[in-house]
């Protein structure tokens, strides 16, 4: 149980720091720390494959992509506008409304989850679902979704290359 609280605390604190940091590089690194904590939680949920995939895909590939973009755009020194230094709930316009909405979301979700009668309770004693079982389900029951996802990745790759291409130099 203490392990759960440890991982949960790291995940929550790292995520809070991600949205509070001014420097985007620190945000990315803190998000990687949050992913590491989530990976630990997946291991506690008897899902080692998802835990390792989270590290390989999310922390190891997607965040590297973010880091590259931040470095190539030289975006570390974010201009400190007046708005950024004021507490979110006191900023003008949509930001104030957004912060209030996010707070309302937390309250609402916590209320819904702590009501008695919901789908709560301890986990049934089950063994670790092996990678073999996941693979078999993925390639038989969910084969169509798998193929569609691969086409999605292809489309995203082609789209990203085209969108980020520089315009050809005019003669």
């Amino acid at each position: 149980m203490t392990l759960f609280y440890l991982f949960a605390a790291v995940a929550v604190i790292a995520s809070l720091l991600v949205i509070a940091q001014r420097n985007p590089i620190y945000s990315v690194l803190l998000l990687i720390a949050s992913f590491g904590a989530l990976s630990g939680l997946y291991v506690m949920l008897d899902a080692p494959f998802v835990a390792v995939t989270q590290i390989i895909v999310y922390a190891g590939a997607i965040m590297v992509l973010f880091l590259f973009v931040v470095m190539l755009l030289h975006a570390p020194a974010e201009e400190t506008e007046h708005d950024e230094r004021v507490h979110p709930l006191r900023r003008p316009g949509p930001m104030w409304f957004g912060a209030v909405l996010a707070a309302a979301l937390v309250v609402e979700l916590l209320w819904a989850l702590t009501r008695a009668g919901g789908g709560t309770g301890a986990f049934p004693a089950a063994e670790v679902i092996s990678v073999r079982a996941i693979g078999q389900a993925l390639f038989t029951d969910y084969a169509f979704q798998f193929e569609v996802t691969s086409i999605l990745i292809l489309v995203a790759m082609v789209g990203a290359v085209i969108l980020a291409k520089r315009e050809a130099a005019k003669p």
Partner: protein
């Protein structure tokens, strides 16, 4: 407090032994590299410090420890300090799931046999792959935080190279997983015991020669060694991502590079060369065979460095994407077809 059993003590001892063995391996690699480079270039190399120059690595470490620890004023202090830590930590962590010997009871000291592996997870192959992905961060953060042109270019190029070659690395691994039928390294090694026709060992390199070549090539590119070491080449980019580092931080990067080499060789031994299985020795001394095979692969690494010229960066990336990746995918398809047809 967990009970202090002989098993617990044995596990702690293994952790300490593996850690120090890796450090010693890095030191030995320094010596091997310099002597072997000298032999390949028909000169002598370090022979004065200790017998045959064996104390040279220790002399180097002591010299590095006494150097001044510099940090450029415009460098980002936290990231500058964090980058070598990430590199070294990932290098050590990857070796934690590599088994290097059969189950042994240490001459009867333990009640039941224990695997010679620091942590036995049943997704060991994926863990190695994941930690290899994380070691990109050490390099890219080193390049960025130094706040210097050469470091940034070196860091970005190096990390782009690493993530490109990770794909072929993974595909070559997957082909072996099809043959080995498990994600756990111990089981893959145990699937390579025995002989065909009495004398050809059942190693996966016999079934997967192309996979082995792809794996070693991708491994050399992953560890930023020649001929893929453009990002840290002294002649091209000053020193790439570790230009601004000195003293122990530089030693950390050096250490990380050598230990990554050892890990790649150790995993290649487990996956392709049969791990600790070998003739003439009983199973409990299998780790000697493991060391011999890893040593052979490391010799091959050093030999490559001092024989082949360096790839230019665009040639390197073209090779990774246009040659190695299709080759690894074809290898995977052929392996899958072979397993289906021959029922291996």
């Amino acid at each position: 407090m967990p009970a202090i059993t002989p098993l617990l003590i044995a596990q702690l001892v293994i952790i300490v032994v593996v850690f120090h063995a890796l450090l010693l391996a890095a030191a030995a690699m320094v010596w091997v590299e310099r002597r072997l480079a000298a032999a390949l270039q028909q000169r002598l190399g370090p022979i004065r410090v200790g017998w045959q120059g064996l104390l040279q690595p220790f002399a180097d470490v002591i010299k590095l420890m006494f150097k001044e620890e510099l940090r450029p004023k415009a460098a980002d202090a936290i990231l500058f300090a964090l980058a070598p830590i990430i590199s070294a930590a990932c290098a050590f962590a990857a070796f934690a799931v590599v088994p290097f010997g059969a189950k042994t009871t240490f001459f009867g000291l333990l009640d039941e046999p224990m695997k010679l592996q620091v942590a036995d997870v049943n997704v060991a192959v994926l863990v190695i792959f994941g930690i290899a992905s994380m070691s990109v961060y050490g390099i890219v953060l080193a390049g960025w935080s130094s706040n210097s042109k050469y470091s940034l270019i070196g860091g970005l190029r190096s990390s782009a190279q690493m993530i490109s070659y990770e794909l072929s690395y993974g595909m070559a691994l997957v082909a072996v997983l099809i043959l080995g039928n498990s994600l756990s390294l111990t089981e893959i090694v145990n699937g390579q015991a025995g002989y065909w026709f009495g004398f050809i060992p059942k190693w996966f390199i016999v079934l997967q020669p192309l996979g082995f070549l792809i794996y070693m090539t991708a491994g050399i590119a992953e560890t930023n060694r020649a001929p893929f070491d453009f990002p840290e080449a002294e002649q091209e980019l000053v020193a790439g991502y570790h230009t601004e580092y000195s003293s122990m931080s530089f030693a950390m990067f050096f250490l990380a590079e050598y230990i990554n080499m050892v890990t790649v060789s150790a995993v290649a031994t487990d996956l392709f060369l049969g791990g600790w299985h070998g003739p003439f020795l009983p199973e409990s001394l299998g780790w000697i065979w493991f060391l011999i095979k890893v040593g052979a692969l490391l010799f091959f690494y050093v030999w490559m460095r001092w024989t082949l010229p360096r790839y230019r960066y665009d040639q390197l990336m073209a090779f990774g994407w246009k040659v190695l990746l299709p080759a690894s995918v074809l290898n995977l398809l052929a392996t899958a077809a072979g397993v289906l047809y021959f029922g291996l």
